[in-house]
Structures are given as C-alpha cells and as structure tokens.
C-alpha cells in the first residue's frame, strides 16, 4: 500500500480533507500540545497505514463481513489509509452505504468516498503501522502491532495478537462484530495520539494501547422470525442517528417504519462520523440522504424540518422515538411530545451517553437538566465515539421491541471507549429523578409531591 502522495495532489484536495477531519482535529486538541497545526494533526491520521486481514472462513458469516466493513468505514472516516488482505466473497446482506455484490470490490470502491484522501486498497504488502485480523485468520507474526477482532451476536472483543487464541466469526447477528470494529478503530486513533506530543505527558494514560478488551450488550436469544420495531421517529439525521440506523440495517429480519426530522444540510465536517454519508452527499439534505440509504428495510419518511413541540397538540410523535440531537433544550421538547418510549444518544468529547425513558421513569430532562452553551459551538467528535452512541441506541430499541429492555439500573450508560480494557470504561446507572426537571416529567412531579 503506497502512502498518499499529498504533494502531488492538488492543494484543494488537501484542504478539503482537513475540512472533513475538522471535528476529529478539534477533539485531538483536548490533549495535544499547543502549537500543533491542523495540518500536522491531520497528516498524522492521513499518513497512518492499517492493514485489515481475513480468511475466507471469517468472511463467510454476516458478522465477519460487518466487522470488516464497519472497521474500514470507521478508519476511513479518520482519514486513515486502509489496506486489505482479504479474499473476495459475495456480500451476504446489504452493507449500505456500500453497494455491489462482492465484498472486497465494494470496499475497494469505497476508497475516498467517506473522506477525501482516505484510500482503501487491496494490498497486503504495504508495510503497515497496525494490523487488524478477523477472528482466527492466520497472519505472519512479528510485523506490526496487531489485534484480533472476535465475538458473538451481542459481544465483541479485541485482543493483541500474542495474547490469544480466538474463534472464527460465525454469528448471525452483527452487534458484537460492530463492537469489536469500534474498539479496533479506537486503537488506531490512540496509535496516532501516541505519535503526537501531548500538552501534559500525564494524559498519555488515556491513549495507552488496550492489550485485551471486550464489551457485552447482554445476550438475547436470536429470533428466527421477523422482528418488527414498529413505528419509530428519529429526531436528527446526524451522526448518532446515522450510526443507529447503520446498525439496525445490518440486523437480519429487523424492520421498522417512521419519520426522520432534521432541517440540516450535509456539510464536509459531517463526513468524519456520519456513517451513511458519502463525500458526494455534501450539500444534500441529511434526511434525504438517510432515507434513501435506509431503503425499504427501515422505511423512513424524510421531514426536512426541525421537530417542533406544540403545547396545543403535545403527543405528536411515534410510540418509539430515537433522539440523536445535540441541543439539550430540543431533547426536552421531544420528551414533552413523546407519548411512549424514548431513547437518547449523545457524546461529550471522548464519552458517550445513552439512555432510555418510559413515560413513568425519570426522563431525559432529569438526566440532562441544564443546557450546555458550548453545544452551540462546533462539537469535537471522532467516528468511533459517535458510532458507539448510535450502536447503544440501536441495541436499546431492539431490546425494547423484543420486550426485554434493560433494567432500571441500566437506564443510563456512560461509556468512554478510549480504554475499554479498564473496569470503568462503561458505567451503567439508573437515572435519578430531579425535582427541577425542565420537562417536567411525571416522575419528577411525583417525587415533588411526595416531599
């Protein structure tokens, strides 16, 4: 795999890539030394070479294919150069936004369609900085830092090459494979951060490699019949909603219908994290892009407006609502209009907040009680953090539809995916009812009246 020859590209192309990676650069600025330019930070990502390896057996399952596609997408959206050492196999299920019937061809065709200059090439002889290996695929040891992605339907793991014996990917459901892909993308991000000077050397603890890590969303029996998620409205067509839909589209025999609200247009700075968006979508309404990519499996009516709460007609939303909007007062408005179950996904720098709320439970106003004025500013984000938020939201929706929701003690998940090898990377908790809930919800008013 050849490094991109930035010099030979037009200056315009280079500046375009910087614009597309703008939010990732902003996130790095939480920790990198003052004085580093955007060009230097961007170049650290764009010069990283990652090789993804799999044999035929590991790509013979939908979970293995999804692990590879998701990993390539998350890496590309950080501007990283990806090499593939994989056999060509038929795609078992659609993998939007990729198209085509051959997996390897579709991945190679994805070169530079996620982020300008982020290439995907079929090249096993590329002197990679990092190698990611699917399941028990064989590789020559002793090359670069390498990790193995493994897992099952709901569980994903990532382990350094020397530490393990892993099994091949065989799972039918790909939640675990998307988990392992997100953890692998995180390792690539931290590798870049370790090459950059930090403002405070003590912060290097956040970017140390994870020798072995895993995450389990909680195993549920996989149904042989269709899973109908019913009518679902999505508030926002941004990164978190797109990640949720990306995940839901990959679940076999899962269907839903509803609406998606957003008045925004796709910008270049969205490409680093919007999983259903391509470079060619810049300038298009987000809802139109998303509805088109979701097709008939997740039938979404695009509503190119902001959702507005009407006090005179408060219950105007579907029985299930997914909220991916950053603006906190907007979350309160949606909560006031939601007649039933509502899930909220959000990110804050390197952390993810995921919650679900039934009408009689403490609501999203109890969890996010005060507006964040910084929310109006450009938000620092990176592909895998937003992806975790959407993936967690998708899992909550499926569990709700299967009538096996998380317990009250798991109403909120605060997850920081940097060091998934540490015991408190993800913390589940109940949502505490607040007397000063801004919605205000039934739970908060009931707790007030008890006092």
């Amino acid at each position: 795999m050849a490094a991109p020859d930035i010099c030979s590209r037009s200056r315009y192309s280079s500046m375009t890539a910087l614009e597309e990676l703008n939010r990732t650069t902003l996130l790095c600025r939480d920790y990198v030394a003052e004085g580093l330019s955007d060009i230097e930070i961007g170049h650290s990502f764009r010069s990283l070479r990652v090789l993804c390896v799999s044999d035929l057996q590991n790509l013979s399952s939908h979970s293995g294919q999804t692990a590879l596609v998701t990993l390539v997408s998350l890496l590309s959206r950080m501007g990283i150069q990806v090499g593939l050492a994989v056999p060509d196999v038929a795609m078992l299920f659609p993998q939007p936004p990729l198209s085509g019937s051959s997996l390897r061809s579709a991945l190679i065709a994805s070169s530079e369609i996620f982020v300008t200059g982020a290439t995907v090439r079929c090249d096993s002889d590329c002197n990679p900085d990092l190698i990611f290996v699917l399941g028990d695929s064989k590789i020559d040891t002793g090359q670069a830092n390498s990790w193995r992605l493994s897992g099952s339907d709901w569980y994903g793991a990532l382990k350094m090459e020397e530490s393990v014996k892993t099994k091949a990917w065989t799972a039918e459901w790909p939640i675990g494979s998307m988990v392992s892909a997100a953890m692998a993308a995180n390792e690539a991000f931290k590798f870049v951060m370790r090459r950059l000077p930090l403002r405070d050397p003590a912060d290097s603890i956040f970017f140390e490699p994870s020798p072995s890590c895993s995450w389990n969303f909680g195993s549920l029996p996989i149904r042989s019949q269709d899973v109908d998620l019913g009518e679902v409205d999505l508030i926002s067509a941004g990164a978190i909603s797109q990640a949720a839909l990306y995940a839901l589209m990959r679940l076999p025999k899962v269907f839903m219908w509803g609406r998606i609200f957003d008045d925004d247009v796709t910008g270049r700075s969205n490409l680093n994290r919007n999983m259903l968006t391509l470079v060619s979508d810049v300038g298009l309404k987000k809802v139109l892009v998303v509805a088109q990519r979701c097709g008939t499996k997740l039938r979404l009516e695009p509503v190119p407006n902001r959702f507005t709460h009407r006090p005179s007609n408060p219950r105007t939303l579907a029985p299930r609502v997914l909220v991916g909007v950053d603006d906190i007062p907007s979350r309160w408005q949606v909560q006031r209009s939601a007649p039933g179950w509502l899930a909220v996904g959000g990110t804050s720098h390197f952390s993810v907040s995921s919650s679900a709320h039934l009408p009689d439970e403490p609501c999203c106003g109890c969890l996010h009680p005060v507006d964040d004025p910084a929310g109006a500013n450009p938000i620092p984000t990176v592909s895998f953090v937003s992806f975790w938020a959407g993936l967690a939201m998708a899992v909550r929706l499926v569990r709700e539809a299967l009538a096996i929701p998380y317990s009250r003690n798991q109403q909120h998940l605060w997850l920081t995916p940097l060091r998934m090898d540490l015991p408190h990377a993800g913390m589940w908790s109940p949502v505490a009812s607040r007397q000063d809930c801004p919605v205000p919800c039934f739970s908060s008013t009931a707790s007030c009246s008890k006092r």
């Binding site: 603890i205 952390s351 009680p369 004025p373 109006a376 605060w414 801004p438 205000p440």
Partner: protein
C-alpha cells in the same frame, strides 16, 4: 494521652474510563473534592461543566461536606459533564412571583413606559422567591436604574446572602432583546437569564409571549424557545 481517630479515607474517581484514588476528609466540601479531581486528571476543557456522580446516577451536591453528602470510603464517583454552572441552573419560581411582577410592571409603567424588576433568591440555590423593583427613570423607549439604589441593592444582597437570578423588563410592542439590553445586563455572568415582557406587561400574567434568553460564554445572548427552559414552578 489523647487518641486522634484517623478520619481520612479514599474514594475512587473515574474520568474518561480511567480510575484514580483520592484521599478525602469527611469535613471537606464536595466542591473542594471536585476541584481536586479536576486537578488530578489535569482537565482543562470546560472544567466548570463537570460534576461528580454516584453509581445510582445522582449528582453529588457541591455545597455540602463529604460527610453530609454521604460519600463512603471506597465509593466510586464518576466525573462527567453535568450542566452549566455559574448561575444558569433551571430556576424554580416561588408561587405568585409572575403575577406580582406583572402587577408591579403594569402599575409603574401605566401602559406607556418601560419598567424593570429583578428576581432574587438565596445565593446558594436556584430559587426565585423575591422581587425587587428598582428606583429608575422611565420613558416609552427605555429605563435607567438609579446608581445609588443599585449600590444599596448590592449591599443588601451581600448582607442577606442573596443574588439576582433574573432581570425582567417591559417593551412597548413585541418582546425582544435590544442592543442596549444585550450590552447592559445587571449581571454579566454566563447563564444569567433575561426576560422581556411585551406591551408594557398589559397582557395575561404569563411568560408565554415573553422573550427569554441567557448569556452565553461568548458574551452573546441566546434566546430560548420557551420560558420553561429557564424557569419552572417551585
């Protein structure tokens, strides 16, 4: 010989998934623990937004001692963003504040002049339980608060450990925040709330038609879509 009991204990602080121990004393204020936690993790990005959370999801109140907050040895506390601090917490309005304010503004402005009032409350709480009607000059196009009254007002607030929570004034026509309103709030603190009542407060005593906004970090005012995003009944 007197024996001094060892009261210090260790709590576990979690930030960005990383856990660090910190020694605390029961009498220590939670706010001091929070500052230590921010220092231990070297956080420079918007540290004022961070709070400590227990594993049951509840926030640890900062104006209490560690003992009163019920923090136990070995307890795991999550350091994560909560909210805007510095006065922009959701304000709880004591009963009668809105109608009393409307009556004051109406009686003073008499349908032809602007008028102002300040909502006040205990400095340590997000509660509005008092109204101050300043001495001011007035006209159909504006008002100016008397300097001496203002000085005396600040003294009174300090002595009673109270603070101004909201400034509220009337406009002749529709409600908006003028350039002068933007530039001269009585409090220039992030999160400070300003309310403008239309038509010299002649309408129903309600904030439904009011302009409600707060001061952002960048010094600009942000309009809220609804008053309930800033104030709720106590």
């Amino acid at each position: 010989m007197s024996v001094t009991a060892e009261k210090k204990f260790v709590v576990e602080l979690v930030y960005n998934g990383v856990t660090k121990p910190l020694q605390v004393e029961p009498e220590e204020q939670v706010s001091a623990l929070l500052q230590k936690a921010i220092a231990v993790f070297g956080i420079t990005q918007q540290p004022h937004l961070l709070s400590l959370f227990r594993q049951d999801g509840s926030v640890v109140l900062e104006n209490e001692s560690i003992e009163r907050a019920g923090i136990k040895p070995g307890e795991i506390l999550l350091l994560r963003p909560n909210a805007v601090k510095g006065g922009s917490g959701l304000l709880r309005l004591a009963k009668g504040i809105v109608p009393t304010t409307f009556r004051t503004l109406r009686e003073c402005g008499r349908g032809e002049c602007e008028c102002a009032a300040y909502w006040t409350g205990p400095a340590a709480e997000n509660l509005v339980d008092g109204i101050e009607h300043p001495i001011h000059t007035r006209s159909p196009f504006g008002y100016q608060v008397d300097d001496n009254w203002l000085t005396e007002f600040w003294r009174r607030l300090a002595a009673s450990k109270r603070s101004v929570k909201v400034q509220i004034h009337t406009h002749p026509g529709h409600a908006f925040h003028s350039a002068i309103d933007d530039e001269w709030p009585i409090v220039s603190q992030v999160g400070f709330v300003s309310i403008v009542i239309p038509e010299f407060a002649a309408g129903e005593p309600s904030l439904e038609r009011a302009w409600v906004g707060y001061l952002q970090e960048d010094g600009k005012w942000r309009r809220l879509t609804s008053a309930v995003e800033a104030v709720i009944p106590a």
